[in-house]
Each structure stands twice: as structure tokens, then as C-alpha cells.
């Protein structure tokens, strides 16, 4: 998985490309841990994300919890496959998807 970051003041854009699963979720977890300090707005771009599994969902939920305390988090450009995963796992109810 490729992660592209762009920090602009307190706004962090993070674009994910590839698969977010049990193999790659630790990579995203580490990137978020390293980058989220001082961030008030986190925008995750999923336009090139092909697949997401429970390991990725856990990392997204952790990020959402952090951002609930320090600002906001949105997930953008979600394709049909990923949206279905959010729906069938109940995550569509707790994540902000634009």
C-alpha cells in the first residue's frame, strides 16, 4: 500500500493506494501515529484504495476516536466496493464519508 501525505497547517490529507488489510494496516497505523499530533482536520482520500478488511477498519476506528477529541475526520472518494464494506460491517454509521 502506498500512503501519500500532505500537511497544510492543521489540515492533513492522506491518500491511500492499494489494499488496507492485515498486512498493510500496521503501516497506516504507524503513519497516523506519527502524523496526527496537532492535526485538527484529517481527510483520508480512498479514491485509489482497492480493498479494506477488519484490520484496516480497526485502524480507521482508532483514528476516528483520536480525531473526535482533537477535531474532525472525513473519508473522501469512497468507491462502491469500500462503501459496501462500510455498510455490511456497520461502520457506515460511525464514519463520516463524503
Amino acid at each position: 500500500m502506498t500512503i501519500t501525505k500532505n500537511l497544510n497547517g492543521t489540515h492533513l490529507d492522506m491518500a491511500l493506494e492499494g489494499r488496507l488489510d492485515t498486512t498493510t494496516a500496521p503501516q497506516l497505523e504507524a503513519e497516523l501515529k506519527q502524523s496526527m499530533s496537532g492535526v485538527a482536520e484529517l481527510a483520508l482520500d480512498f479514491s485509489k484504495l482497492e480493498y479494506l478488511s477488519s484490520a484496516g477498519l480497526r485502524v480507521l476506528l482508532s483514528a476516528q476516536k483520536v480525531m473526535n477529541r482533537q477535531g474532525s475526520m472525513v473519508i473522501k472518494n469512497v468507491n462502491e466496493t469500500i462503501m459496501e464494506i462500510f455498510e455490511v460491517t456497520g461502520f457506515a454509521d460511525i464514519l463520516t464519508v463524503e
Binding site: 492485515t22 479494506l52 478488511s53 477488519s54 484490520a55 480497526r58 476506528l61 455498510e87 454509521d93
Partner: protein, 289 residues
């Protein structure tokens, strides 16, 4: 007795990679199980708290045999406990698809839908995992099939069926799990989680529940103050002054006894494990005595 999730702890110690896969699934299970409350607010508790009870009770039933369980056994058992009720929280569209697969009639109204979900949720759980197993980071499809059988086996399923529940179910080359015993554990632990502390009375407005069947279910649960496991037997501690509720508690005890004896036989005849408890005893005791 203090609650103990020794199965989870042991998996973390002996197979961190499998444990990590299990831990990643907890959030999905939590979301799915909390969703059922939106659909069916008057059902007995089926949230992740019930899952924890299943682990605690399974731990007590396993007792000193935990050293005989392999990492693969532990992972399948934990995943089975986590997802056995997930069928309660499937989306409306998945419910319709699964209903057609199972071949039962379309429910006429919301009440009929609630009861259809309750009556078929073990199969709905199995079909949910069959459809979405790849989302849950199983090491391979064989593990998913083993967990599906635990979900299906927690009620209304013949655990003596060698085809459905082979004694040694291979999940990886040279590695198998004791499917009948694991399914018997989830089945029995689920049945044993019936005491009032699963459904704290002030969390439910029982007297205003619209369904008489729901009210009756809750009254029975609330009369059962504690279920105690000793190495020899299961003791149901209960109290009620209502003869109808008392009859319900006696029926529950009889059903528990049947389930215990069935699961004991499964363990004895289909695995190298044992369930040591031989009987279920009802003790009607007035509170404070």
C-alpha cells in the same frame, strides 16, 4: 466467580499473529452486534457483553484442559464466540438474500421479522460469514468454514453429524481443529448465559414491552439470579413468587439439562475432551437466604 478470558490470553501468548487477526475482528463484531439493538430493542442482550460471557463460561467448561487446545482451536473458538450472533445484525438486504437461501417465508410485519431473525440467527450468522469471510482477515477459507460451523452449531444443529462436524477438521496442512468439541462449547456456553446479570432490569422497560413473549422471556431471565458452574454440575439459583414464571424457569432448567447432556456426549464421543458437569440443578432460593 471473577470473570476470566483465559482463552484469549493464551492465544496472545502462543500465537500472536492469529491473536492479532482475532483482535482486528472485535471492532467489526461490536458494530454488528450493536446494530441488532436498533432493530430489536426488546431482545435479550446479544451485544459484545454476551460474547464476553461466552468466553468466560467456555473457559470454565474447558478448565484444566486448556493445555490440550492448539492455537488453531483457540482462534476458531474465539472467532466463533465473537460472531455466533452476528446474524442478528445483518442489513435488511442481506437478510432478504439469506432468507431466500434458507427458504423461509417473508415476514409479514416487523414483529414477525424480529422473530424470524431470532429463530434463524445461527444460520444468518453462518451465511454472513460465508459471504464476507474475506473481510475478516481469516488466514484462509478453511478457518472461516470452521467458524461458520461453530456459529451454525450454537443452536438447532446436529453436532453428531460427522460430515458437518468432522472430529478433526483440517484448517492448514497438518493442522486441524476439534470442531465438535468447540461447537459444543459455544452451544452450551450460550445456553448457560441466562442469568439476570445478562439483562440488567433497569436497562429494560420490561412491563411496557409490546410483545407478551418478550415480557415472559425477560421475567424468566430476571428470576434466574445466578448460574454457577462447579466441576460436577451446573447450579441454577433462582427465585420468583409467580407460578407462571417459576414454571418457565423449570422449563429453562430442563432445556439446559438436555443441552448439557447432549454437549457432554458430543465431547465424549466426538473428541478427546470432556465436559465434566453431569447435571443441572435448580435451587429456588428467596433473596437474602
Amino acid at each position: 466467580m471473577e470473570q476470566d478470558y483465559g482463552i484469549e490470553r493464551r492465544l496472545a501468548q502462543c500465537a500472536p499473529e492469529l491473536h492479532s487477526r482475532y483482535r482486528d475482528c472485535v471492532v467489526v463484531s461490536q458494530r454488528m452486534l450493536s446494530r441488532y439493538e436498533n432493530y430489536f430493542p426488546d431482545f435479550t442482550d446479544h451485544t459484545v457483553l454476551h460474547t464476553l460471557d461466552i468466553l468466560d463460561i467456555s473457559n470454565q467448561l474447558i478448565g484444566g484442559q486448556i493445555d490440550k487446545l492448539t492455537a488453531e482451536d483457540l482462534y476458531v473458538l474465539l472467532m466463533g464466540a465473537l460472531f455466533h450472533d452476528v446474524g442478528m445484525g445483518v442489513s435488511k438486504s442481506d437478510f432478504e438474500q439469506f432468507r431466500q437461501t434458507l427458504g423461509f417465508p417473508k415476514p409479514a410485519d416487523e414483529t414477525a421479522l424480529a422473530w424470524a431473525v431470532r429463530d434463524h440467527h445461527q444460520e444468518l450468522s453462518g451465511l454472513y460469514l460465508k459471504k464476507y469471510w474475506h473481510l475478516l482477515d481469516f488466514p484462509n477459507e478453511a478457518y472461516a468454514r470452521a467458524v461458520i460451523q461453530l456459529c451454525r452449531g450454537h443452536r438447532k444443529t446436529d453436532l453428531f453429524d460427522e460430515k458437518e462436524y468432522p472430529s478433526a477438521f483440517e484448517v492448514e496442512p497438518g493442522k486441524s481443529v476439534s470442531l465438535p468439541y468447540l461447537a459444543a462449547l459455544v452451544c452450551l456456553a450460550d445456553e448457560l448465559d441466562i442469568s439476570a446479570d445478562r439483562n440488567i432490569s433497569f436497562l429494560y422497560d420490561v412491563e411496557h414491552m409490546p410483545s407478551a413473549r418478550d415480557r415472559q422471556e425477560f421475567h424468566k431471565h430476571m428470576a434466574i439470579r445466578r448460574v454457577e458452574l462447579t466441576p460436577e454440575r451446573v447450579v441454577v439459583h433462582a427465585w420468583t413468587e409467580d407460578p407462571e414464571v417459576r414454571g418457565g424457569v423449570e422449563d429453562v432448567t430442563a432445556k439446559l439439562r438436555d443441552k448439557l447432556l447432549m454437549c457432554r456426549r458430543v465431547a465424549a464421543e466426538r473428541s478427546s475432551f470432556v465436559i465434566t458437569q453431569e447435571d443441572v440443578v435448580l435451587r429456588m432460593e428467596e433473596p437474602g437466604l
